[in-house]
């Protein structure tokens, strides 16, 4: 039971990070129907950006307050990663709108390869590790020598995820941009006829997705303390699995899927074998796509001839 509770905390932490990345996949798929293969690498870029920003703040500018440093890194990393998301959409995806079906996917694979190798070239191939911050935690339960701990980092990750998701939900449900975004998702042509700037809405969708991936990146770097240029692919695929599991196109579904994938991965590692945890994630992806392609909260796709 104690082990279970501890794994539950770990799983929810990991799941929050996956959920944040998954939103980027699900929104883009919802609005232009493409799998943004490069999203995992955008996340990886944001990890590097936040690590450099953190080092800049603490070692060069001498910021000693961890909370202040964290907030500044979070805001700046979101802005800079959003710029990447915007630029990628403009250069690699927008010219392909209306091109044949596979073109955007292949272009996205190209962007993904470019990003990971770009980071490798400019930052070197070695793992980058971050000095540990915010150690310690709250003891949730102590029994028979086994302590269940919610570390401050884990608490912070859950709180930040919850706050940002609420803000994000408000943005999509209650603002003019959110209305435009949902309209484009339902029917792009009709939205354009009604005076919505579709290109701008799609751009903003990429910007938002990248910004949320940046939040995940900041939290990931802080939590694991190490990142390498190849770290985009696997978290990316897992987050995509989360998006599909939750029902692609559905925002609450993405978060739900993220939490489920995080929990499955942690429990699998704890109770079965850690070597095969990625196999488990990939298998879930295949199984979900084959047997319930509309996911948990998604709408079934109706094919019109």
């Amino acid at each position: 039971m104690d082990v279970f509770l501890q794994q539950l905390i770990n799983g929810l932490t990991l799941g929050s990070i996956y959920g944040l990345i998954a939103i980027g996949y699900t929104m883009v798929f919802g609005i232009i129907g493409m799998v943004n293969f490069a999203h995992g690498d955008v996340f990886m870029v944001s990890c590097f950006i936040s690590l450099i920003l953190f080092l800049l703040l603490t070692t060069w500018l001498g910021v000693t307050s961890i909370v202040l440093a964290f907030l500044v890194v979070l805001v700046l990393a979101m802005a800079l990663t959003a710029l990447w998301g915007w630029a990628i959409e403009l250069v690699a995806y927008r010219p392909l709108r209306g091109s044949f079906r596979l073109a955007p996917l292949i272009s996205a694979i190209g962007v993904s390869i470019f990003l990971s190798n770009f980071v490798q070239v400019v930052q070197g191939a070695r793992n980058k590790s971050m000095p540990p911050v915010l150690s310690g935690g709250i003891t949730v339960l102590e029994r028979e020598g086994y302590t269940v701990v919610l570390s401050y980092k884990q608490g912070l990750i859950m709180v930040v995820t919850a706050v940002l998701l609420t803000g994000f939900w408000y943005l999509v449900q209650r603002t003019p941009f959110g209305r435009a975004q949902r309209a484009c998702e339902q029917d792009r042509k009709m939205a354009a006829l009604l005076g919505i700037d579709v290109d701008r809405t799609i751009s903003l969708t990429f910007v938002l997705g990248a910004a949320l991936a940046a939040v995940a990146g900041v939290l990931y770097v802080m939590y694991y303390g190490v990142v390498s240029f190849s770290d985009g692919f696997v978290p990316g695929v897992k987050a995509f699995t989360a998006a599909v599991l939750g029902g692609i196109g559905s925002l609450p579904g993405a978060v739900l899927g993220g939490l489920i994938i995080g929990l499955i991965e942690t429990f699998w590692s704890a109770y079965f074998s850690i070597e095969y945890k990625d196999v488990a994630a990939f298998s879930i992806l295949a199984i979900v796509l084959i047997f319930m392609p509309s996911g948990i909260l998604g709408r079934p796709e109706v094919e019109k001839v």
Partner: protein, 468 residues
């Protein structure tokens, strides 16, 4: 960076120039934002475990200046082109007519394949003549083997992606299955290469069916992602199933290929002694070269023949429209499975060739990147064009290889510059550029498989790839 329609009429040249300058400056600003922390500061391992930041603002300045210059040049060129277009009346119809005269690309593709085969056949001779002796031609022959391996993989995947229209992102899995079948069968049971070659194809084909079966209902992006997942699962199993596959260390000391039973050794039972030749280690390399050439040509021949059979026509019909296919009574299940199995079988044969050539295999050779490269070859080649795939393989494999030889760039960029580092970076960029400029590939011609009277090529732009 948004492109306002460059209206030259009625606008003063100064204001146009101003707009262009502003636009270029904006681009440079965006480049600055993209470079900001990633390029401006490099994290280097410092004393202890800490990272030390090394500022590189000079590089950022250069990159921003380049962006500014390129954008300025691009806009000015566009301006001139638009001005020219405004003077000359637009042609009545920009699209090509269906039965129109074949353009240069289409003409090339008619004789191209024959030319390609002729060059490939004579490459060892040409390389020997050019470099002086057989030993120094080794580099070129090895490069030829590498290119032909990718040509074969490209032709194999072309059956699945180009003909049947099923986007497979996990093709490398079958390559791995073939390679491991030969490696394991030969090291544990001592089976010879010639027995293993068809077996490897058979195993890979079976795996193709096995993996193809569950994904029959999927289409488009979903199919791509599931095949990607299968590819990764196979790779992860190869890494973690240490007892059988040797794990990350892979399988080493795989037996070399023999000349139909006669080994390439220096002793009297060897190839050289039996045929009364002087022993030369190059005999084996040349033999491997012709072996992969023959295997690739078999792949090509089978594909070309099958395209004329009902099954080949069913593949192409499936690519264009699955629903129409089903309505016409085509068994889509069988059609998809044969495409998967056949493509996988050729991948497996190429894989066992890879194993016999390297003598060592590890899961590292079968990453997703490999699948992406093969897919890029097929797409760049024009999805369905055999000659296009061959040309694309040459460009994709030999191009990066040429980067290795660009040592002269060291003089420009300083001693620490290694052009090879940029290989994949440029590869990714090329993939995007290719999709933006020529999404239909180099040779985007569709040859009708059944015609009344004369056979006329039509442009790939006229066929809509349906769901698949």
């Amino acid at each position: 960076m948004a492109r306002p329609a460059a209206s030259t009429q009625g606008a003063l040249p100064e204001s146009v120039m101003g707009a262009i300058l502003r636009d270029a400056a904006l681009c440079a600003l965006v480049a600055l934002g993209l470079c900001l922390p990633l390029i401006a500061y490099r994290m280097d391992p410092g004393p202890g475990s800490d990272l030390v930041l090394v500022p590189r603002w000079g590089l950022v300045a250069i990159l921003c200046a380049i962006t500014f210059g390129v954008r300025l040049g691009q806009r000015l060129l566009l301006l001139r082109r638009d001005a020219r277009r405004a003077l000359t009346p637009a042609p009545a119809q920009a699209t090509e007519a269906v039965g129109g005269e074949p353009d240069a690309g289409q003409k090339v593709s008619k004789i191209g394949l024959k030319l390609f085969v002729a060059v490939a056949l004579s490459l060892p001779v040409l390389a020997t003549l050019a470099t002086g002796d057989l030993g120094s031609a080794r580099y070129w022959i090895d490069l030829g083997i590498l290119i032909l391996t990718y040509v074969m993989l490209g032709w194999g995947l072309n059956i699945v992606v180009g003909l049947a229209g099923l986007l497979d992102l996990g093709y490398v899995a079958f390559y791995a299955v073939g390679a491991y079948s030969y490696a394991l069968l030969s090291t544990t049971f001592g089976l010879s290469f010639w027995v293993c070659l068809p077996l490897a194809g058979l195993f890979a084909g079976l795996w193709g069916m096995l993996l193809g079966f569950p994904v029959l209902r999927l289409r488009g992006d979903y199919l791509a992602i599931v095949t990607l997942a299968f590819g990764e699962i196979i790779r992860l199993v190869l890494i973690n199933w240490t007892d059988v596959t040797g794990g990350a260390a892979g399988v080493s000391s795989i037996p070399r290929a023999t000349f139909f039973g006669i080994p390439f050794t220096a002793d009297e039972d060897g190839f050289a002694a039996r045929f009364g030749l002087e022993f030369d280690s190059m005999h084996r390399v040349v033999f491997l070269y012709y072996l992969i050439l023959v295997l690739a040509l078999i792949t090509n021949l089978v594909t070309l023949r099958l395209r004329r059979l009902p099954i080949g026509r069913a593949w192409e019909a499936l690519r264009e429209d699955e629903i129409a296919c089903r309505s016409l009574g085509i068994d889509t299940t069988a059609t998809k499975l044969t495409a998967f199995a056949l493509g996988a079988a050729f991948g497996g044969i190429a894989g066992s060739f890879f194993a016999v050539r390297q003598g060592f295999i590890s899961p590292e050779s079968f990453t997703f990147l490999e699948s992406a490269i093969i897919l890029a070859i097929v797409v760049l080649g024009g999805m369905g064009s055999q000659f296009g795939v061959a040309i694309a393989a040459v460009a994709m494999v030999a191009g990066p290889e040429m980067l290795r030889n660009l040592g002269g760039l060291k003089a420009v960029f300083g001693e620490g510059f290694d052009p090879n580092e940029y290989r994949l970076l440029l590869f990714g960029l090329a993939m995007v550029a290719m999709m933006v400029w020529r999404p239909r590939g180099l040779i985007s011609v569709r040859m009708p498989s059944v015609t009344l009277g004369e056979r006329k090529a039509i442009s790939g732009a006229h066929v809509s790839e349906g769901h698949g």
